[in-house]
Point group: C2
Chain length 347, copies 2
């Protein structure tokens, strides 16, 4: 047995008591100094600060939170970090958090409902102040969440008529807008590539497209092609479509992976965008704005989504008990050159 071992194992950090002892005051007093509940510019205040610096003391956040029983952490569960839309949303929410002195803890579910459930559970274990969830494609998050006392706000993929707050965009409206844009530009044979059935978000987008088609008075041909969510799958589906169908004069992709697949395929097949063929995609990406000609996009106003969602969650945290609401924000259409009209093509 080692002689009178040091009372603290070597790896551990100084506690508030070490500081108190060194400064010759009580722990409570140190706490007051640290939390600004006591003026600092007197002998005692200075002694404490000095001790803090010398020992390299940092407050233990877990102990502090435990005692105050509050956490100022917001959990965020997203399907993945690789989707630039999600990534940007994380970034924007983080910015909001910072200004309110909250902290975002972001984790990903990898589109797996099991993982998602575990993550949510885990966050509740941390007694986070609130949670944002972008549900995975076949999410069961809704069930877990409605039972919980922790405030939840759903983002982007908002469950149908759920008894929980949700913030997303007006998918149908945005798609209808784009379709009308295509009609006005004279396009009459349009291919709409969508992800697949059963995803609320994409269903809304399809609805918007269908409504616009129904309302349009001229005869138009619109084909609907499910592409799956991988780029390769989408490419194969599109390739097959082009092999067996007359050439459309516009392609509208309702999901970002499909947009990239379509872009590559159209290039390969030798179509010139904005001339032989129009292309537009739901969701913007850096590459879309910077290739030539740039590819038109329906842009989700991420900053605005983050702002509204943040306000909603904060209100809940602060005790707002009004009925849950679903907030829809309008998208912007970036009508880039890939959309050139048929008239222009003829002329």
């Amino acid at each position: 047995m080692p002689e009178k071992a040091a009372k603290r194992q070597p790896g551990s950090r100084p506690s508030i008591r070490d500081v108190a002892r060194k400064a010759g005051v009580s722990p409570g007093c140190v706490s007051n100094v640290i939390n600004g509940r006591r003026k600092l510019d007197d002998p005692i205040g200075r002694a404490v600060l000095e001790a803090v610096n010398e020992l390299g003391y940092r407050r233990n956040t877990m102990a502090s939170n435990l005692r105050r029983s509050q956490s100022r952490i917001i959990g965020l569960v997203i399907p993945n970090f690789e989707n630039p839309f999600f990534a940007e949303l994380v970034a924007k929410l983080e910015q909001r958090a910072e200004t309110t002195n909250y902290r975002i803890v972001a984790t990903s579910s990898r589109e797996d409902p099991e993982t998602e459930a575990r993550e949510i559970d885990e966050l509740v274990g941390w007694r986070v102040a609130g949670v944002f969830v972008i549900p995975s494609l076949s999410s069961r998050a809704l069930n877990l969440v409605s039972a919980s006392e922790t405030p939840f706000v759903f983002l982007d993929r908002i469950p149908q008529n759920a008894a929980i707050d949700g913030v997303g965009v007006n998918n149908a409206e945005a798609c209808a807008l784009l379709m009308r844009h295509l009609f006005e530009a004279g396009h009459s044979r349009i291919l709409v590539a969508y992800l697949g059935d059963g995803i609320a978000n994409v269903a809304e987008r399809l609805d918007g497209v269908r409504n616009a088609v129904a309302e349009h008075e001229q005869p138009v041909t619109v084909d609907y092609l499910p592409t799956g969510d991988s780029i390769e799958g989408a490419r194969a589906a599109l390739d097959a479509y082009f092999d067996h169908n007359p050439k459309p004069d516009a392609v509208f992709c309702l999901f970002n992976t499909a947009t990239l697949a379509a872009y590559g395929l159209l290039q390969q097949r030798g179509f010139v965008l904005g001339k032989d063929m129009a292309l537009a995609g739901f969701d913007d990406s850096a590459w879309m704005a910077h290739v030539h000609p740039p590819v038109a996009a329906i842009v989700q106003p991420i900053e605005e989504i983050a702002k509204v969602a943040w306000e909603r969650l904060l209100a809940r945290i602060e005790g707002d008990t009004s009925a849950p609401e679903t907030i829809r924000i309008n998208c912007r259409l970036e009508a880039r050159e890939s959309l050139a009209s048929v008239e222009t093509q003829a002329g």
Copy 2:
């Protein structure tokens, strides 16, 4: 004053004592059941589990961690979430974490050294088990970190001869490889677009390029163009270059934003990739593989980086006190069609 108020405010969750009372056992016993230190299939075990379910009890992670004085959280500070390389690294590290029952808390510094310092400080406050840092461009993280007792591992942008573990790729080697590839393919007028001076990573890449040029025996013309880190800036710089210089037969971008800028510009100027002009970039992106022709890339083996870095950090957490090391991993060259040789061009 309300009559005998409930002893716990309504918002708060049941504690281990509520469970114990309900099950008619002691808190310690409940703890044992929950943590599997006691068999569950007897009257007592069952009673506890039942009470847990009825009350919707979830262990308070902060209290638990405080008591065990350990956290199983790994902090991760990255410059931003929007860079796909960083995003993928986060994802891969998360996967590693999951298998080891750790948890990743990812935050971004937005390339701002102030923010970065705050984030690191904050993580230390959480008594995280360890921290991964991808330093911001003008990072002062190194100073903060060497003082700390928390294990740190630097990723990607590894500080020069630092007394701290670092895991990254062999930048110079990879760039030299690509340059030799270009030489062999007959390219003799090459434009190298780099970010700017003073960034360790890019400096290494430039060194690799210069070495390859120096070793090459044929006469070649290599121009070096600093582009800044925005896509727009890079585009403008490249545009100016093309206006005032003879057309190169290959463009090599050392930074991903420059690659996208170059791609768009070359398209706009009517060059056909893999025919009139070769293009390659450091770092792969989804769009590079899927446009036509696909754009060659130096691919950082992210999975491997995550694996090695994870092992390093875990070793430190478990008390490894060997000298800090810098681990370099080799990149892979995806020699896609944008690289077609000059011979092919002629033929």
